[in-house]
């Protein structure tokens, strides 16, 4: 199961529609079991698809919707199967998504979650070669989403079908995708397991899009290959960092995860002074925003770099003090057990990424 993850306009839906055959590629091929299916029209590809808004036929009952593909007879060498077999397979498909006995209902008469499952049953009933899911959960309200996601995962595992899923939500991609492909501005930035994406993001975009992160300007101070040291701009302090292979010295972007930093009392080596400008308690951790003290006028940056630090301060519940107060001056250093900062070649075109991962809801497609 592959999840295509990316922000709005990154091309993930277009990619899915190319697979389904609703868009024609300018070039290239789509290989399935070694055969190019690109020249085939959608109706002959045998790719099942679950649409973002389900696209259930409103004038047909749930049973007729599920039977629609069977009546086309694409999945069967013998053509259209006989009526009683269609009925049996409709029953099976509905049982798979836990909707036994819903055959006579109309799509308008069932809930959003049920519609989603009917759409899945309809796509699976023809036993397609590949299942395509276009933002299958975006239409559900958040309370329902997690449960439906578990059911979706379970149903797909039971069938054991190759599945491509489009989503703009990292949590969804990480939950459902055995592998996740991150798309950015029409390019495939990285494909990998959720762990790989989070721990060794291949590009600056992947690093900031997957999980929370802050981007700091920096200058390569030493090291090579994947172990480098980077001077945090304007501070005169160098931090150890990993890198996806920076060859020469110069300006870099340093991507720091909130849990990769810690407050430290040491004012010496590796500690950067800064002032707490924001504090937000989010449950498991507290997120601090710290404005780094940089030597004025040294960097090209007009803005004071700010970083986000996650501190587990559960002891607050037992009445302890917070790790830092607003306006307090603190010192920051890489967390000894947290993920190391990661350096990327400076990308002048990309604007400084916001600390919040972009999670704006997608448009209609």
């Amino acid at each position: 199961m592959v999840a295509l993850l990316g922000p709005s306009g990154s091309g993930k839906t277009t990619l899915l529609r190319l697979l389904a055959g609703f868009e024609a590629a300018d070039g290239g091929s789509i290989l399935l079991s070694g055969k190019d299916v690109a020249p085939l029209p959608p109706a002959r590809r045998r790719f099942g698809m679950v649409f973002q808004h389900y696209a259930l036929f409103p004038h047909l009952s749930v049973g007729e919707n599920v039977a629609f593909g069977l009546e086309s007879g694409v999945g069967d060498a013998a053509g259209r199967p006989p009526q009683d077999e269609i009925r049996r397979r409709v029953r099976e498909a509905l049982a798979l998504v836990d909707l036994t006995g819903f055959e006579e209902r109309r799509p308008g008469e069932i809930s959003g979650g049920q519609q989603q499952r009917v759409a899945l049953a309809r796509a699976l009933a023809t036993e397609p070669r590949v299942l395509l899911l276009d933002e299958p959960l975006s239409n559900l309200d958040p309370a329902l989403r997690e449960r439906t996601r578990r059911e979706l995962a379970a149903a797909i595992r039971r069938v054991g079908i190759t599945t491509v899923l489009v989503t703009h939500e990292q949590e969804e991609a990480f939950h459902l995708g055995d592998r996740v492909a991150v798309l950015h501005a029409g390019h495939l930035d990285q494909v990998g397991t959720p762990e790989t994406l989070y721990e060794s993001p291949a590009t600056r975009f992947v690093a900031t899009f997957v999980g929370r992160a802050t981007v700091l300007p920096g200058r390569l101070a030493g090291g090579a290959a994947d172990e480098v040291t980077v001077e945090v701009a304007g501070t005169g302090v160098a931090w150890p960092a990993t890198s996806a292979g920076i060859d020469a010295g110069g300006e870099v972007d340093l991507v720091v995860r909130p849990e990769g930093l810690a407050f430290t009392h040491a004012t010496g080596d590796g500690a950067v002074p800064g002032k707490v400008v924001g504090r937000r308690y989010v449950g498991a951790v507290t997120l601090y925003r710290v404005a780094l003290e940089t030597a004025a006028g040294t960097g090209a940056e007009s803005l004071v770099p700010e970083v986000e630090v996650a501190v587990a301060e559960r002891r607050l519940a037992s009445g302890g003090d917070p790790a830092a107060h607003l306006d307090q001056t603190v010192h920051l250093a890489p967390h000894p057990e947290g993920p190391l900062p990661r350096a990327y070649p400076r990308d002048d075109r990309a604007p400084a990424a916001p600390a919040d991962p972009p999670a704006a809801p997608e448009g209609s497609r």
Partner: protein
């Protein structure tokens, strides 16, 4: 019409689709429509300039016809009357329709739903039937006139239903519906939060109305005004029956044509068509203005329930009084159809009622022939209009480019062009045999009237199909394709069933329009193909009011049947 926002995501999505539909069927349909809709207008325009087969061979283009038009006072008078009658119709219709819209959308009283539907009734009745109903009711020997005459002991009828006043009365009666429906729709779309915001900012009811409600209504009112103006421009039945010497452009054209002054009829037709096209341009301009403010979403304001018992009673009485006023003309037609000839002279109510007129109409094939003629011609025209309209609308939706725009324009054009214009255009184009130029002699054959009806029906079925197809989620067709359904199966199982309600409503309107057509029939009919409307006019001329009533009843019943069978109240949307 708001297109689904398919372009929301993806900056560079390829426009090509793998299963891109073929172009050639739509090109064929476009060619047919061009020949049917555009070509006759072009031919008429050319012949009015002295170019073409109908004129002396070898003559160069000239403005003789237009020069003659400009030199004749009665032509200028007809032009001027058309304009002021249309403007006055707009004002009168607005005065009736807008308050009605407010009452039915913003207040609640017993019987509101039923009456709300009845109020929209005049739009689905054939204009000629409405006109004769007025004649029977308010005409010199109509019920009301007789009642007034008897009450006041006058020697003669208290008034004569003639000239501009009579035309305006009929127009106001039949055209207020545009203002009524548009006002209701706009009010229903209005976001209640806007009114609440105005109130919370300290605006009183009057200020809210003037500064918020009215500006938001303006696009709808502009639309209704242009619609009314164009309907009035094209109106023929009322000026023909009531006008007498008071000629407007439509009647002027028909009289020129019947008098054999072909060139003058063509020139007048060209001028009327130009006026209508100017109206269409204004309409499209107003449409764009609407769409900039049209994206209002939210909850419509709740109706103000009238609580005071006396006020409720007053509202109910006023409402039912209104309904009776609206239904009275048609009730009159029914009553008149039972009055035997020459039995009703000076009494207020007819002394004798019988089924004699019906017996006469149903007595023989010759008498029933107009009914059968109208039925088969209207059915044929409707069927063809549904087929052509559906394919053309599909083409307009599938091919967004030049072909789509051309198809949409071609199915919409006959809506804007007055029936009289098409009648003359068809008569001009299809009275010459030049097969290599696409001109055949169809005048005098049974083909010409269904063809004319088809032209008038096309925008009704075509726009209905456009609306239905436009609302169709493209994902449904993709879902069908991904489930292995081919193009034909997708069309049959998914597209057509989902468009059917809209299409059926369009077909019902188309059938009623064709069945009751008078405008084109009067120019193009022959004795063998005479439709009901011509028989009604003939009966009126022979003073056989009862027979005219019977035909009027038959028209209304057939129309109502079509409407209940296919329409089912979808017209208001």
């Amino acid at each position: 019409m708001s297109a689904p926002s398919t372009a929301a995501a993806g900056p560079a999505r390829p426009a090509r689709r793998a299963g891109a539909p073929a172009r050639w069927p739509y090109l064929v349909v476009a060619a047919v429509l061009l020949w049917l809709v555009g070509y006759p207008l072009l031919i008429t325009f050319l012949e009015s300039l002295g170019i073409g087969a109908g004129t002396a061979a070898g003559s160069a283009a000239n403005l003789d016809g237009f020069r003659e038009f400009a030199g004749r006072q009665d032509e200028w008078l007809a032009l001027w009357r058309t304009l002021w009658i249309s403007a006055a119709s707009v004002v009168l219709s607005a005065l009736v329709g807008v308050p009605l819209g407010f009452v039915f959308e913003r207040t609640d009283f017993p019987g509101r739903r039923l009456l709300g539907g009845l109020v929209a009734l005049p739009v689905v009745l054939p204009p000629l039937v409405g006109v004769i109903a007025f004649l029977f009711l308010y005409g010199e020997s109509g019920f009301i006139s007789r009642a007034v005459q008897a009450t006041l002991r006058l020697d003669g009828p208290p008034w004569s239903l003639k000239g501009a006043g009579a035309i305006l009365l009929v127009h106001a009666y039949s055209m207020y519906v545009y203002f009524y429906l548009f006002t209701r729709a706009a009010l229903a779309r209005m976001d209640a939060a806007l009114l609440e915001a105005a109130a919370s900012l300290g605006a009183g009811r009057w200020r809210t109305f003037r500064r918020v409600t009215l500006p938001l209504l303006r696009p709808a009112l502009t639309g209704a005004a242009i619609l009314t103006f164009m309907a009035s421009l094209a109106s023929f039945s009322a000026p023909y029956i009531f006008g007498g010497g008071f000629r407007v452009m439509t009647t002027q054209i028909v009289f020129s044509k019947l008098n054999g002054d072909v060139l003058m009829a063509q020139v007048e037709t060209v001028i009327l068509a130009a006026m209508a096209l100017a109206g269409l341009a204004a309409m499209q301009w107003a449409d764009r203005a609407v769409s900039t403010t049209g994206a209002v979403r939210g909850v419509a304001p709740t109706r103000r329930r009238i609580r005071h018992p006396a006020a409720r009673a007053a509202a109910a009485v006023a409402g039912w009084g209104l309904a009776i006023l609206l239904l009275l003309p048609h009730a009159t037609v029914v009553l008149i159809s039972f009055v035997p000839p020459h039995t009703w002279t000076r009494e207020i109510l007819p002394p004798v009622l019988s089924l004699g007129n019906y017996a006469q109409v149903f007595s023989g094939f010759e008498n029933l022939r107009p009914v059968l003629n109208s039925l088969w011609m209207a059915l044929a025209a409707t069927a063809a209009a549904v087929a052509l309209g559906l394919v053309a609308a599909r083409g307009a939706v599938v091919h967004k480019g030049r072909l789509g725009r051309a198809l949409e324009g071609l199915i919409s054009l006959p809506w804007a062009v007055p029936g009289t214009v098409f009648a003359v255009a068809l008569a001009t184009t299809f009275s010459v045999s030049q097969p290599w130029l696409g001109r055949f002699v169809l005048i005098g054959t049974p083909v010409i009237l269904p063809l004319a009806y088809l032209l008038r029906d096309l925008p009704l079925t075509g726009r209905a199909a456009l609306t239905g197809l436009g609302q169709l989620d493209p994902a449904l067709e993709e879902a069908s394709a991904s489930l292995g359904a081919g193009r034909w199966r997708t069309l049959r199982r998914v597209v057509v069933p989902l468009v059917r309600p809209a299409l059926a409503a369009g077909a019902a309107l188309a059938f009623i329009t064709a069945l009751g057509d008078f405008v084109t029939s009067i120019v193009l009919y022959t004795f063998d193909t005479r439709p009901i409307s011509m028989e009604i006019v003939g009966a009126l001329r022979m003073q056989e009011l009862g027979v005219a009533g019977v035909y009027g009843v038959l028209l209304t019943v057939a129309g109502a049947a079509a409407f209940t069978l296919w329409g089912r109240g979808e017209v208001a949307s």
